[in-house]
């Protein structure tokens, strides 16, 4: 019997994408209230560290949302489609489930 621990959620491509999109929306809302560009242009000791961290996180999250999320979703869609159109496979006597079809992946 498998146990799902609270600190080890099953984070798959779709849930990761949703997380990134939500984080992007939140950070965009926060950063729209501050002058980020001058911090990034002139990063130095005088810039509040929280602001620089927030800007850095936003850059990473935004790039991920535009470059990683479409790739993740495309990969998930195609692998799921290939699995679905695969010929019916015999049920494994050990696991008692149909391999290739009933495998429960993370979201």
């Amino acid at each position: 019997m498998s146990r799902t621990r609270w600190w080890n959620p099953r984070l798959g491509p779709v849930s990761l994408s949703v997380t990134l999109v939500v984080a992007h929306a939140v950070l965009r809302e926060i950063l729209s209230r501050y002058d980020v560009v001058s911090c990034v242009f002139a990063a130095g000791g005088h810039v509040p560290r929280w602001m620089l961290s927030c800007a850095g996180a936003f850059v990473v999250v935004r790039l991920s949302v535009f470059l990683l999320v479409p790739a993740l979703l495309a990969w998930r869609l195609v692998t799921a489609a290939v699995r679905r159109i695969a010929p019916a496979c015999p049920v494994s006597p050990e696991t008692g489930r149909s391999r290739g079809h009933g495998e429960k992946g993370a979201l």
């Binding site: 911090c39 990034v40 242009f41 005088h46 936003f58 790739a71 495309a74 195609v78 290939v82 391999r99």
Partner: protein, 390 residues
């Protein structure tokens, strides 16, 4: 065995789909509004103009709003925010004369902002003399007077004669006098510092004055452009030298993307042919693309240099300022494909957000939004999108 083979096929197909999507979809998505901007869609220009008006004209801007860490740079950014916003408002009226009444008040606020004591301070602190008090004196004040006069000339073209015409005439006369007196034809931005890009705005403002008033500055413009073509344009890269020695005009820095991309915007009004040559040099030497997103290098290939306040961050050789300023050249010369790629990059990095009837770039702040407003509304050189000719 068959099961393993099937799984491998599935993974390979998934990986191929992921690569194909990454290479095409993000740039296509981010660049989807580019065609409308290229056409000069008034609704889009209006939405961005409202965002810029809120950030630059409605809010009380001050040096402390900018956190560059250097008082002079913060002053320059404050000055630059008013300048670029003012350019944007003038250019939108050139393209859509029906916006005249709506854009006249914020355009005037931009000029008034540039004339305030606080904005003049960055130049005054360097020269030890107020730039407006020194118009008729021996000091050049190329940055303050050159950029201010450029906006005054553009404002005159777009909005016609108004109370700023006298100041435009006076500054133009002073700049022409300094050009005539300078053995290297370039004026000093600050004492002992000469930047050809700032001088592009000096000579561009003289060209604008000629267009707006019909007065003849042909001799000064010819002398300037002949010398610039021979001495201040790198013959290999066909780019503008970033800085020169004030004593003899010899190069003091590399030819760079940020200076070239910004300089050719103003140079168009003095010598359209030289401006076009610089744009073609910029495309040949510096333009690149990553996953369909356009980018412009700060330094030519096989030359290296550090980033600074002019270039902004340099990532894998591509400069933030060079990329942003190149949008203007792409629109001016009707370079649709390059414009779309650069627009996609601006969308990706700028993070535009719509709030009600206005649009703002989240990561831009007052200066970034004003720059994009000015770049995205640059008039075409063949009569497209308002040339400002009267």
């Amino acid at each position: 065995m068959a099961q393993n083979g099937h799984r491998i096929v599935g993974l390979a197909a998934g990986a191929a789909a992921a690569v194909a999507v990454t290479a095409t979809l993000p740039a296509a998505w981010c660049g989807r509004g580019a065609a409308k901007w290229m056409e000069g869609d008034a609704a889009r220009q209006l939405r961005l103009s409202r965002g810029v008006a809120r950030l630059v004209c409605d809010e009380s801007l001050s040096r402390s709003r900018f956190r560059t860490g250097v008082s002079q740079f913060s002053g320059e950014w404050l000055f630059g925010s008013y300048l670029m916003a003012g350019i944007g408002f003038a250019q939108t009226v050139m393209e859509h004369p029906e916006l005249h009444a709506q854009h006249a008040p914020p355009a005037r606020r931009c000029i008034e902002g540039m004339l305030t004591d606080e904005v003049r301070a960055f130049d005054r602190e360097s020269w030890g003399e107020d730039p407006l008090d020194g118009i008729d004196g021996p000091n050049h004040h190329a940055a303050y007077l050159g950029y201010l006069n450029f906006l005054l000339g553009l404002h005159r073209l777009a909005f016609g004669e108004d109370s700023y015409a006298g100041l435009n005439d006076r500054i133009t006369a002073a700049l022409v006098r300094h050009i005539d007196a300078s053995p290297i034809v370039l004026l000093e931005t600050y004492p002992g510092e000469v930047y050809p890009v700032d001088n592009c705005f000096v000579i561009g403002s003289v060209g604008l004055h000629q267009r707006a008033t019909g007065s003849d500055h042909g001799a000064a413009i010819r002398r300037w452009t002949e010398r610039a073509r021979a001495k201040y344009v790198d013959p290999d890269a066909r780019l503008l030298i970033q800085a020169v020695d004030p004593a003899d005009g010899s190069p003091a820095d590399e030819p760079r993307g940020s200076g070239t991309a910004l300089g050719l915007i103003a140079l168009h009004y003095a010598d359209p042919r030289l401006a076009r040559e610089l744009y073609e040099g910029l495309k040949a030497s510096l333009a690149g693309s990553v996953l369909g997103f356009g980018a412009v290098r700060e330094y030519p290939r096989r030359r290296t240099g550090r980033g600074d306040i002019d270039s902004g961050p340099i990532v894998f050789g591509y400069g933030c300022s060079a990329t942003g300023f190149s949008i203007a050249g792409a629109r001016r010369y009707g370079d649709d494909a390059f414009f779309r790629r650069l627009f996609a990059t601006a969308h990706l990095c700028g993070a535009p957000v719509s709030r009600g009837d206005r649009r703002e770039y989240v990561s831009g702040g007052p200066l970034g939004n004003a720059i994009l407003f000015a770049m995205l509304t640059t008039p075409g050189d063949d009569g497209r999108n308002g040339t400002g000719e009267r």
